[in-house]
C-alpha cells in the first residue's frame, strides 16, 4: 500500500475525459469521509493544447476557487502532503478516458468461444475492434498480415486455448500478428495482451515479445470451455490502455506522479464500484446498474450477484464518433425521440457538426432537442447491446425483459447537458426502460469512478462517501409492464409519508404519474396493479415497500415495456411534451 493513501487522509481525485476534466476533493468531516466539492474545466488532451495538464490545472483551480483551499503551488505542482495552513492534499487518484478509442485487433480460436471472450474483454475498455481473426477466418495468413499492416492497431488482444489445451493452433493464429508487428516501424508496434492458454506464455513471449511496444499477460479468460473469467484480464487490459495513452498524450506522466501510480481507466473504475455496490448493497430483488454516456463512449456496468458486466462502446459515444452512430441506427429512429418537428437533414447536419466540436453545447431549444434525441438513441442501443452479455439467470419480470436493477447510477456529459432534472430522468427512462422499482441516482460530479479508483487502497473512503448522501437521488421509479389498452387504469398507488400524510395516484397505461417525496425522506409505498400488470412483485400481485425520496419524488411509468411511441409524428411529439411536463418540465 502506498504511504500516500492510508485511511484518514484527504484525497484529490482527477478525471480526464474527452470533453471535460474534473477534480474532486474528499476529506474527513466530523470523523467520516465526505465529498467536499468539485471543479471542472475543458479538457486539453486535444490540439492545440495536446497536454492534459492544462485541463487538470484548470479543474483543480476551479476546485480551489470553490473550497478556498490552495491545492496547487506557484509552479503548478500539487501541494502534497496537506500543510498545517490547510493547503494541499495527502493523496491523489486519477481516472482517464480522454483520447481516441484504441484501434484494436482481437485474436482467438473458435468464434463462439475464445474469440467471443476476446471481444467481451476488449469491450471492457475504450477500444474499437477493427479486426478479428479466429481459426475459421477465411483469409490466408498473408491477407491477415496485410490487414493488420493497414490497420496499424494500437492494441492486440489474444485469447484462445483452454489451460493445457490447444497450443499448436494458437501459435498458428499468432503468426500473422507477430509478422505484421515485425514489419511495422518500432514506434507503431501494438501493445499486446495474451489471455489464453497459460502454458503458452513462454512461446508467446518468444514469438511476440520483441515486436510489440508492450507485452502483457493475464490469466486465461477461458480456462475451460464452459468457464469465462474476464476479471483479471480486464485489469491487465486497463494497464495496457494506460501504457498506450502515456505514449500518446502528454501530461499523463505528471498525473501518474501526482497519484503515485493510482490511475485507472474511468470505465474500469466505474465497473469496479458497481461490482462493489452489487456485492454490498445489491438487494435480493436484483442487480446494480451504472451507465455513463459522454463524448468518449457509452459505458454500461451491470453488477449481478454472480458477476459484473462492464461494456464500453466508443461507437455510441457522443463526440467525434457521432457519425458512426448512423451505422447502428437510422435518422428516423433517432428523431422519434424529439418533441420538436425537426427534419432528418437537420439531424444529420447536427451530428456531423457536433463531431467536429465534441465539447460544444446546445444553445437553442432545437439543438437541445436534437442532442437529447441522439443521446437517448445512443444509450438505448448501448443498453440493448450490453444486455446480450448479462447473465442468463438474472432476475427479471419475464424472459426477454431487462433484469431488475436497483439502484441505477447515471452520469456523463449527456446528462450534465440536460436543462432540468426532468429532462435527465426522461432521457434515462426512455433509453434504459427499466422494469420494476428502481432508485435513479444522478452522479453529476462523476463520483462513482473516483470512488472506484480511491478504493484501490482506501476501502473506507467509498463506503463513507456513499453513506454521506453525496449522490443526488433523482427519483424512485416504478415501471409497470403488461398488456393494456391506452388510457386504461393499470394500478393504484398509495404513499404514506413519515409524518403520516398520504398521497394516491391512479396510473393509466401510456402515462407517467408523479407523487412528491423529497430528497432525504422515506415513505411507505403500496401498489395494487390490475390483473396481468407487473410492478416487480409478479403479474397482478400487489406489494408494499419503503421508498426513498429524490429530486422528482416517486415516478410511475405506465408506458409499458418495450416503450412503443405512436407512429403518428404529431401525436408522438405531443405525447413526449406531455410526459416531460408530467415529470416537471
Amino acid at each position: 500500500m502506498p504511504a500516500s493513501l492510508i485511511e484518514g487522509e484527504s484525497v484529490l481525485a482527477v478525471d480526464v475525459g474527452s470533453a471535460n476534466t474534473r477534480a474532486v476533493l474528499f476529506d474527513i468531516v466530523e470523523g467520516r469521509y465526505r465529498f467536499v466539492a468539485s471543479g471542472i474545466a475543458a479538457s486539453t488532451a486535444e490540439s492545440p493544447f495536446r497536454d492534459v495538464g492544462g485541463g487538470v490545472r484548470g479543474a483543480v483551480t476551479d476546485l480551489q476557487a470553490t473550497t478556498g483551499r490552495a491545492l496547487l503551488a506557484a509552479d503548478g505542482q500539487l501541494i502534497t502532503p496537506s500543510q498545517a495552513d490547510g493547503s494541499g492534499v495527502d493523496a491523489c487518484v486519477c481516472t482517464l478516458s480522454a483520447g481516441p478509442a484504441l484501434k484494436t485487433a482481437i485474436i482467438g480460436l473458435l468464434s463462439e468461444v475464445s474469440l467471443e471472450s476476446a471481444r467481451r474483454l476488449a469491450e471492457t475498455c475504450y477500444m474499437r475492434i477493427l479486426d478479428s481473426a479466429g481459426i475459421n477466418d477465411p483469409r490466408q495468413a498473408d491477407q491477415q498480415i496485410d490487414a493488420l499492416m493497414r490497420l496499424q492497431p494500437d492494441a492486440v488482444v489474444i485469447a484462445g486455448g483452454t489451460d493445457g489445451g490447444a497450443s499448436r493452433s494458437v501459435q498458428k493464429m499468432l503468426e500473422p500478428a507477430g509478422l505484421s508487428a515485425f514489419l511495422l516501424a518500432p514506434e507503431k508496434r501494438p501493445a499486446v495482451l495474451f489471455a489464453g492458454n497459460q502454458r503458452l506464455q513462454n512461446e508467446v513471449k518468444e514469438l511476440l515479445g520483441n515486436v510489440t511496444s508492450a507485452m502483457h499477460y493475464s490469466p486465461n479468460v477461458r480456462p475451460s470451455l464452459d468457464t469465462e473469467d474476464l476479471g483479471p484480464a480486464a485489469r491487465e487490459l486497463a494497464s495496457l490502455y494506460l501504457g498506450v495513452r502515456k505514449r500518446q498524450l502528454r501530461g499523463i506522466d505528471q498525473l501518474e506522479s501526482w497519484s503515485r501510480g493510482i490511475m485507472l481507466p474511468t470505465a474500469y473504475s466505474q465497473g469496479r464500484m458497481i461490482r462493489f455496490l452489487s456485492q454490498v448493497y445489491g438487494g435480493t430483488r436484483g442487480a446494480v446498474l451504472g451507465i455513463d454516456i459522454g463524448a468518449s463512449a457509452a459505458v454500461i456496468a451491470a453488477g449481478f450477484r454472480s458477476k459484473t458486466t462492464l461494456r464500453v462502446y466508443p461507437q455510441f459515444g457522443l463526440g467525434e464518433n457521432l457519425p458512426l452512430l448512423l451505422q447502428h441506427t437510422t435518422l428516423e429512429d433517432i428523431l422519434r425521440w424529439s418533441p420538436l418537428d425537426l427534419s432528418t437533414g437537420a439531424l444529420r447536419d447536427f451530428m456531423f457538426q457536433k463531431s467536429l466540436y465534441p465539447s460544444s453545447i446546445a444553445a437553442t431549444k432545437e439543438d437541445q432537442s436534437l442532442a437529447q434525441a441522439v443521446a437517448r438513441q445512443a444509450l438505448h442501443l448501448a443498453m440493448q447491446t450490453a444486455r446480450r452479455d448479462f447473465p442468463r439467470g438474472a432476475l427479471s419480470s419475464q424472459p426477454g425483459r431487462l433484469p431488475f436493477f436497483e439502484p441505477i447510477f447515471a452520469s456523463g456529459g449527456a446528462l450534465a447537458d440536460t436543462a432540468t432534472p426532468a429532462e435527465a430522468l426522461l432521457l434515462l427512462l426512455d433509453a434504459i426502460q427499466p422494469v420494476g422499482i428502481a432508485t435513479i441516482i444522478l452522479d453529476r460530479s462523476n463520483l462513482l469512478p473516483f470512488l472506484g479508483a480511491a478504493a484501490e487502497h482506501n476501502s473506507m473512503l467509498p463506503v463513507q462517501v456513499l453513506d454521506s448522501g453525496a449522490f443526488e437521488g433523482l427519483a424512485t421509479v416504478v415501471s409497470l409492464t403488461g398488456a393494456a389498452s391506452e388510457g386504461t387504469q393499470i394500478a393504484r398507488a398509495h404513499l404514506v409519508y413519515e409524518n403520516g400524510a398520504e398521497a394516491r395516484a391512479d396510473i393509466k397505461h401510456g402515462n407517467l404519474e408523479l407523487l412528491p417525496l423529497q430528497h432525504g425522506q422515506n415513505a411507505r409505498l403500496s401498489i395494487q396493479p390490475r390483473h396481468g400488470i407487473d410492478v416487480g412483485f409478479g403479474a397482478g400481485r400487489a406489494g408494499a415497500l419503503t421508498v426513498s425520496g429524490g429530486t422528482l419524488g416517486v415516478v410511475f411509468d405506465g408506458r409499458g415495456r418495450p416503450l412503443r411511441l405512436p407512429q403518428d409524428s404529431g401525436r408522438r411529439r405531443e405525447l413526449i411534451k406531455k410526459w416531460l411536463w408530467t415529470v416537471g418540465g
Binding site: Q140, E175, L356, I361
Partner: protein, 352 residues
C-alpha cells in the same frame, strides 16, 4: 481565465509545416533549399502486400527440415516461379514463389516475402524554404502568406490558381458553373449539395475545391475524389465564414496550396489553404492558444449562429442561462450582421 482555441484565418503569417513520410525513406532536399509545391521532399519504396509461405506445412515436414531445403534468406530478390523448396518421395512436391518480390523473413520452415512494391513520393505541397531535415522521413518547410484553416479535408494535397465562383459566402457550387477553362484550377464555392458537382469537377480535372460547407451525404464520394477538397465551416448549408470569404476573395487568381489533410484533433493536423505572399520583414507565427477577452474576433461553432464571425463585447461573470435551458460560461458577441448574442464560451473559437 478560460483558454480559447484559435482558428487561423490570417492575411499574412509565417507558416511552418512538417512534411513527413509514413515509412522510412530518402530525404531529397537540404536545409535552406527553396522548394515549389510539386518538388519531391522525400521518397520511399514500400510494399503494400505480403506473401506468407509455410513451406514445412506444405511439404508435411518439420520447420527445421524445411529450413534445410530452402535456399533463401532475408534480402534476397525473388521472381515469380522461383523454386523455394522441393520435397522428397516418388512425386515430389515443389514450392514456388507466386509473385516477384523480396524475402524479408525466413525461418522455422516459413518464408515472408514482400511484393507489389510501389514508390511513395512526398511533395513539398507549398512554396517555401527548407528549415529543417527530419532524417529518413522528410523536412520542415517555412513560407509566408495568407492562411485559412478548414474543418474537414479529404486527405489530398495540390496547388494551382484559385478561382472563386462564390459571388456570396453561401453560393452553391453547381455543375453549370464549371467548364473546361477551369482545368488545373482550385475552385472556391460556398457549398456543395449534390454529387453531380463533384463528378463534374472531376471531369473538368480541377486541382481542388475550397468550400464553406458540404452535405454530409456527399462525404464518402468526396473522400474518393482524386483532388483535394477543403471545407472551411462544416456540414449542411453553412455559408463560408466572412473572414475566410474576404481573404479568399481578395486573393482570387493567386497560386495557392490546398492541403486537405484530415482534421485530427489530437495531432493538430488540419486542412488548410496557404496563399504564398511576398513580404519585407518576416511576419509573426500564429498563436495556437489564447485566453478569451473582450475585443477578440471569434467564430461561432454551433447554432444559432454557426460559422458567423463576431467580436466579444464582454465575458459573463459566472454562469449564464441559454435558450436551451443549459447554464454555462458565456460571452456577449456582436455578430457582423449587427445582432448581439450570448454564446457559450465552449461554442467559440478565436479567429487569428
Amino acid at each position: 481565465m478560460t483558454l480559447a482555441p484559435v482558428h487561423h484565418i490570417l492575411p499574412l503569417a509565417t507558416i511552418i509545416r512538417e512534411r513527413r513520410l509514413p515509412v522510412k525513406g530518402n530525404v531529397r532536399v537540404r536545409v535552406g533549399q527553396k522548394v515549389s509545391p510539386a518538388d519531391i521532399v522525400a521518397d520511399a519504396t514500400w510494399s503494400r502486400e505480403h506473401i506468407f509461405l509455410d513451406v514445412g506445412r506444405a511439404l508435411g515436414i518439420s520447420g527445421s527440415a524445411a529450413d534445410r531445403l530452402m535456399r533463401l534468406k532475408p534480402g534476397d530478390q525473388v521472381t515469380a516461379g522461383l523454386v523455394v523448396a522441393r520435397g522428397g518421395g516418388l512425386l515430389p512436391k515443389t514450392i514456388r514463389v507466386p509473385r516477384t518480390g523480396r524475402v524479408i523473413a525466413a525461418g522455422a520452415g516459413e518464408l515472408l516475402i514482400e511484393a507489389g512494391e510501389s514508390r511513395l513520393e512526398l511533395r513539398a505541397g507549398l512554396s517555401g524554404i527548407v528549415r529543417e531535415i527530419i532524417p529518413d522521413r522528410g523536412a520542415v518547410i517555412e513560407t509566408s502568406g495568407a492562411l485559412v484553416q478548414g474543418v474537414w479535408g479529404n486527405g489530398r494535397v495540390d496547388s494551382g490558381a484559385m478561382i472563386s465562383l462564390a459571388d456570396k459566402p453561401d453560393a452553391p457550387l453547381t455543375p453549370g458553373r464549371l467548364d473546361v477553362s477551369m482545368r488545373g484550377s482550385i475552385l472556391v464555392g460556398g457549398q456543395v449539395r449534390d454529387a453531380d458537382t463533384l463528378r463534374t469537377a472531376a471531369d473538368v480535372a480541377v486541382r481542388g475545391l475550397l468550400l464553406g460547407s458540404i452535405f454530409p451525404s456527399l462525404l464518402p464520394m468526396a473522400l474518393e475524389m482524386r483532388f483535394p477538397i477543403v471545407v472551411t465551416d462544416g456540414f449542411g448549408s453553412i455559408p463560408m465564414n466572412s473572414a475566410a470569404y474576404r481573404l479568399i476573395s481578395t486573393n482570387n487568381k493567386r497560386e495557392v496550396t490546398l492541403n486537405a489533410e484530415a482534421f485530427d484533433r489530437y495531432s493538430g493536423a488540419r486542412p488548410e489553404v496557404i496563399i504564398p505572399l511576398p513580404f519585407a520583414t518576416r511576419p509573426p507565427e500564429p498563436h495556437d492558444v489564447e485566453a478569451f477577452a473582450p475585443g477578440q474576433t471569434v467564430r461561432v461553432r454551433r447554432q444559432p449562429a454557426v460559422g458567423l464571425i463576431g467580436t466579444i463585447l464582454s465575458l459573463s461573470g459566472g454562469l449564464s442561462t441559454f435558450p436551451s435551458g443549459l447554464r454555462a460560461a458565456g460571452a456577449e458577441v456582436r455578430l457582423e450582421n449587427g445582432k448581439q448574442l450570448l454564446v457559450p464560451l465552449v461554442n467559440l473559437e478565436v479567429v487569428g
